[in-house]
Amino acid sequence: MDYLGIIEIGIIFSLFVLGMILSFRLLGFADLTIEGSFTTGGAIFAILLSNGINPFLSILISIIGGGVAGLLTASLHCYAGINKLLSGIITLTMLYTANLRIMGRSNIYIEQTSVLNYINEPWYEFFVLLIIGVAIFILIKFFLSTNFGLYLRATGENESFVKNLKSNPKKFIIVGLIISNSLIALSGCLFAQYVGYSDIGNGNGMLVSMLTAMIIGENIVRPTTLNRQIISAIIGAISFQLLYSSALQLGLKPIDLKIMIGILLIAFLILTKYGYKGKQSKNIGANFI
């Protein structure tokens, strides 16, 4: 088993899960845009890099690209009054075309040296991912530890509470979705670098996979505090990848893997909902299920 590789992919996916925790768990916004912004992150990065743009600048722009997608979904919900799920689906559909237009084709191979393969050694890749991961987690931890973060969490659980504080909940939904989708675009951009290509299908099935990762993480690390909630992202992403690789190693046919993820997700969702002997869950955040 390639444990280093599992941790590396785990770190990349933990950023995705962290973004999902922000929108799904803390804001209570089941945002379906994320499959699209994952692809967008990779697409923008690949096209910019192959046009000779600096890798760091390319990453930055791909993050902004994800943020724009989040802004669109949030605006559709907040200003056009469209249902949360539907606004996500609308943006997701539009992103499909946008991603194709960005790349100009359905698939780009990343042959240039970029951030992850600047030095062609396994430890280097791991080291860079670790630094990026730790930096992002600290940033998000800081963000959620501010009053703004507190209001954002309150919006997810009790919107009228925020209204009664004479604050506009829309503000927090918009900022929350922008940050969440930016994180997911970053994850997509790192994923594209890691696998060496950006493909229009890169986001396929990511939502359910990462939802499973998030729920697994939450069941291992009961997220009763903000810190635990954040840690659950990394534990969930790595455990998910570990289970995924082991199932494959065991000889489970890849076609059965989808069913396995589905069953796993259902089991953990039921556990999350009813698994506390009828007591209220101690977990923080909104219930989006």
């Binding site: 800081f142 530890s145 501010t146 009053n147 703004f148 507190l150 209001y151 969490r153 309150a154 659980e157 009790n158 009228s160 509470f161 209204k163 009664n164 504080l165 004479k166 604050s167 503000k171 927090f172 009763t224 209220q280 101690k282 977990n283 923080i284 955040g285």
Partner: protein, 243 residues
Amino acid sequence: MLELKNIHISFNKNTDNKIDALYNVNLEFHEHQWSYIIGGNGSGKSTLLKIINKELIPDKGELKFNSYKPTDVMFIDQTTIKNLVPSMTIYENLIFALKNIGMNPNFRLFQNKNYKEIVIDKLKEFNIGLEKRINEQVKFLSGGEQQIIVASRIMLSNPRILLMDEFTSSLDQKWAPFILEKLKKFITVNNIMVIAVTHDYSQIQNIGDRLIMLKNGKVFADKKKENFDFTTQSILNLFYEYE
């Protein structure tokens, strides 16, 4: 002074069962005054509070804040947990109430020694040991304890106008007088205007300064403490009169 002038509002406007929730309501509220609003179901009590809280806009008439700003108003819902964020801790819930600190969503860190002291001092006033449990989630507190957190929120945020929709309706007789007396003392000291809707007439005698009775969206009676006896019996008599 808060003025409601000639307020009209109706629901289901375009249907046959049009309801006049408030009809030609003229009221003045003053500082230092705890007004109770009573009336039967559908008499327009909650609608009145929502109009003052700017949740509803009247069809006709004028709401004059005079020297007040809309941000001076604090609204307390009748369901206790709706005034709190259930999965947040006591401390986090009370941060929102800290004037100039938590009341606007800025990028200051909320874990801070000074804030903690303010919160702990406030909880100590109630003397039931909540100050030692500030990192517990409010959803696991009892109803009375949750209501104390709501009362602490009111005191910490120190609004100029306080709107309460059946503040103690979900509490048993052990907690209600205790919390109300604490609140009354605070409100008298800080000169806060209170407009409260209630069904529990027993509390009016000790707390209330003024009694407004609504009937079918109209003001039916408006009594001051000086010229009316606020006992439960006399309030009930008022109701019979109205029948």
